[in-house]
Subunit: 527 residues, 2 copies
């Protein structure tokens, strides 16, 4: 479904940047091409178009994509839905393209050899026949999704001159050829390793070590004074820059929203010589490329876009979770707080959808300092994490208020004896919960307040901790400007969004949808 | 973000099919082109590539796409991420392309006139300057996302010879020109209407009426006997065909998974003369095209793919919900029941993510007959709905068991006096809940069982109904082979999926992840 093609572009980009910072004329630590096999389905998917368009723009001469073109998809001949001139399309995108008979070994060899010496990415269109050698099903779409069956396999074996009684049979000459190939590979690797050991400079070795073993303790974390208001997208940008200063492998970019996402690494240059990547308006390819950066082994990548556009990259975020990749998603403009851009740009269900995704941490920090604390937790954990940040300014909480830490996902921000209620909130709604609690306290209604920047981590805590934080003898109220369907796990009442947002100033929207101190207090008094 | 381009392709497809079935030589009821304006961001997005590739394949000569090419995106010049030859790319996809100065009115006129007489879709690349006329910001990416500001606007007005003191000023000659344009349009419409009234045949009129006012009472719904097992993807396929037989405007297709989704309308031919659309492996464009079919006013469209690939089309599904479009999503292979294809193909969080989406109904029927009942509810409602169907066979419940109906989203399938537990389930887990309840009953543990095919509808019921169905004095257990984060709203305990799935036979997976009668009973005994 195109993920692999975008991953291949990511591998080639990672190799390109790694070679630019690691190699010297004498010692080429990074010295390889990236090969990728793909099919019709990969190339019909939008993600592969996005990734290949970027690969052409960047002139990735280390990328070789082999397209198994058998003209067959599940519903029949590809021509029912796809008759474009793939060669011309890729050439228009800045690729070199060759076309070969995919069943002719000599042509394969020649095409691969030619591809190695080009200054552009190469597409090799290999014309093939699906189920080649199968008597009845050769060339048929019925061989796409279903097994050939015993009879057909036997007939195919006979046709090739094999013994159809034997299964998983490897002839001696085939085995020998493969053993030779393995030996050839081992030898090349040994040569490369020996050469590097001999010629690597101290400087190269130091950088390689830093890339392979990032030292998170070297990060000089920013501290934010409590006499100010600062959007978490803003504090998050400062944090990204602090991390990048300490870790040479920390890099990323935005899908053309850098200035809004605050995702630029200042003074660190542009890819392929610097660490700022311009992905274009291509969220899906961006996330898949970052997955590849993470898999490459030397980098900790991040991608950035508006939270609403996380929808465009969901499949790649899911694969990051499934593969347990250390990659970060910066998602700013995180609620109706987006304001005038209106409901097309205001996330409602996105927090729920990513909290429901296994092995994926969603951090929604309440203020700039919690933002820092969340990054400290995230970097020391395995797997992917998202930072869901506000467009609008948020008050920085006073240190004596923010006495908890988010290591366990959620913590008591305010605890009162004989509390009748517990408010649970994340992000921009934490300060609202806190102020509402203070107002109610003046009326004699005692309220505990919990900040829960990461529900996934809190879910994993034991019952004792959970009950310490969310006292089960209180009436529990979750407050979040999102669909909030997942809060019922901990809350009796959810004050969330029951509909899409609207287009107006952020303050007016928060008022309209009931996210004000007055509205919260009124609702709570009636419980 | 490319949605509009894919919508335009959908409008042109809808117009093409409508003209094929409605027009006669004498009376062209459908007689228009589809015009779409787009920018760099639209064309960089994968969805627009998918849609335009399909438009080229289908040779949509009624589609004219005007590309405002100003070379500026938010992060700067487009060349930082995009240097492809757009003209050559579109030509490779089967489009005619012309290139004009987008500020030259004559060139615009000529290009539009030429486009009308082609037998392919047309792209007009209009080279423009962003913020044209603004003195300081002309051509700058700073004018993309931010207002020009008062000073800059005043200067621009002066440059054009306008009075910079006046706002929203329309000069008389401009007003006159626009009034003439409106009159010209009114006249053309009146002519077209008069012509149709005069020349429309009885047969044409009848079909037009059927398209404009679909009569759901004419559907001959299939009935499924209870002595069989049938996958809901299979029953759903029969239902689609039954609906299509009664409603000439009911049409759709799959993203190359027709045989697996059972989404083919048998004997109804292929688009553009028949009602089966082959979207290719392009989920995102498919969903956006169906949105346009719905907006066109004559059709009730459906799209189909595996449930896991709903991730690929999420942004278009969201817009269907936001625009309250009557469009249907067929999502088969709905859980770990997918089996051997493994965790990349097994939905976990997808039910949660679409249940969290406002104004979007997710139906997950328990058996073939509930599948019918759900369609009856869906067709009579506004807005989009998804049908989440099993790959594996499901027992058809006996009529005396299935005594409820899904009009209110969830209903009591089995009620016992003095019930200690209530099981709540959907889809393939309903029969499991039922069998587990029967087993526990033999041990003297009484259990109510609720089938909840559509949580969104149940959420909207009053408390009295909710408490009748889910007795609050029972211990409530939700059983669903999905992440299940949203079930805590009604359940004390959720038996769901805590991780991704795995690759094995469906039965082995259900056993491994605890979805067997033995495992459910054991867990419940310990509550």
């Amino acid at each position: 479904m195109g993920q692999g093609v975008a991953n291949a572009v990511g591998f080639a980009m990672a190799a390109k940047y790694a070679s630019n910072i690691l190699n010297s004329d004498e010692c080429k630590i990074i010295d390889h091409k990236v090969y990728c096999l793909c099919g019709d389905g990969d190339l019909q998917e939008g993600i592969s178009y996005e990734a290949c368009s970027l690969a052409g723009t960047l002139g990735l001469d280390n990328l070789i994509l082999i397209y198994d073109s058998n003209n067959i998809t599940i519903e029949g001949d590809t021509s029912i839905a796809w008759n474009e001139d793939v060669k011309a399309r890729f050439e228009a995108q800045g690729w070199a393209v060759s076309r070969i008979d995919g069943h002719n070994f000599d042509e394969i060899d020649i095409a691969l050899e030619e591809a190695k010496n080009r200054c552009k990415p190469t597409l090799i269109i290999a014309d093939t026949v699906i189920a080649k050698g199968a008597c009845e099903l050769e060339g048929s779409h019925h061989s796409h999704g279903a097994p050939l069956g015993e009879e057909e396999i036997a007939a195919a074996k006979q046709k090739c001159g094999f013994d159809d009684k034997k299964s998983f049979q490897v002839d001696e000459d085939v085995k020998a050829r493969f053993e030779i190939a393995v030996e050839k590979g081992d030898l090349a690797e040994a040569e490369w390793s020996a050469n590097i050991r001999k010629k690597i400079s101290e400087e190269q070795q130091r950088l390689l070590d830093q890339l392979e073993n990032p030292d998170f303790d070297k990060i000089e974390w920013p501290k934010f004074e409590s006499n100010q208001s600062i959007a978490t997208r803003e504090s998050n940008g400062k944090i990204l820059n602090a991390i990048a200063k300490a870790l040479p492998g920390f890099m990323g970019g935005s899908a053309d929203l850098g200035p809004s996402n605050k995702s630029e690494l200042k003074g660190m240059g542009d890819f392929p010589f610097g660490r700022n990547m311009h992905f274009g308006i291509r969220e899906h390819a961006m996330a898949a490329i970052c997955n590849a950066f993470s898999l490459y082994g030397l980098f900790i990548p991040y991608s950035a876009t508006f939270f609403i556009f996380s929808d465009y990259l969901k499949p790649a975020a899911r694969l990051a979770a499934l593969m347990n990749l250390k990659t970060y998603f910066i998602w700013t403009h995180d609620s109706i707080g987006v304001g005038e851009d209106g409901p097309t740009h205001q996330p409602i269900e996105q927090l729920s959808q990513f909290r429901a995704l296994p092995n994926f941490k969603v951090f929604r920090p309440a203020d700039a300092n919690e933002n820092v604390a969340c990054w400290q937790v995230a970097l020391k954990s395995d797997g992917p994490a998202a930072f869901v940040c506000s467009r609008q300014k948020l008050e920085v909480l006073k240190p004596d208020v923010a006495f908890g830490d988010p290591t366990k996902g959620g913590y008591l921000l305010k605890e009162r004896k004989d509390a009748k209620f517990t408010f649970i909130a994340s992000g921009s709604e934490v300060i609202l919960a806190l102020k509402s609690a203070c107002a109610l306290e003046k009326e004699g209604i005692m309220v505990n307040v919990v900040s829960m920047p990461c529900m996934e981590i809190f879910n994993a805590q034991d019952d004792a901790y959970k009950q310490k934080v969310i006292n089960p003898s209180t009436k529990r109220v979750a407050i979040e400007a999102s669909s909030g369907v997942e809060w019922y796990r901990y809350a009796d009442v959810v004050i969330g969004m029951q509909s899409f947002g609207a287009s107006a100033k952020a303050d007016d929207l928060f008022k309209h949808f009931g996210f004000t101190q007055e509205s919260i207090c009124e609702k709570v008094r009636q419980l």
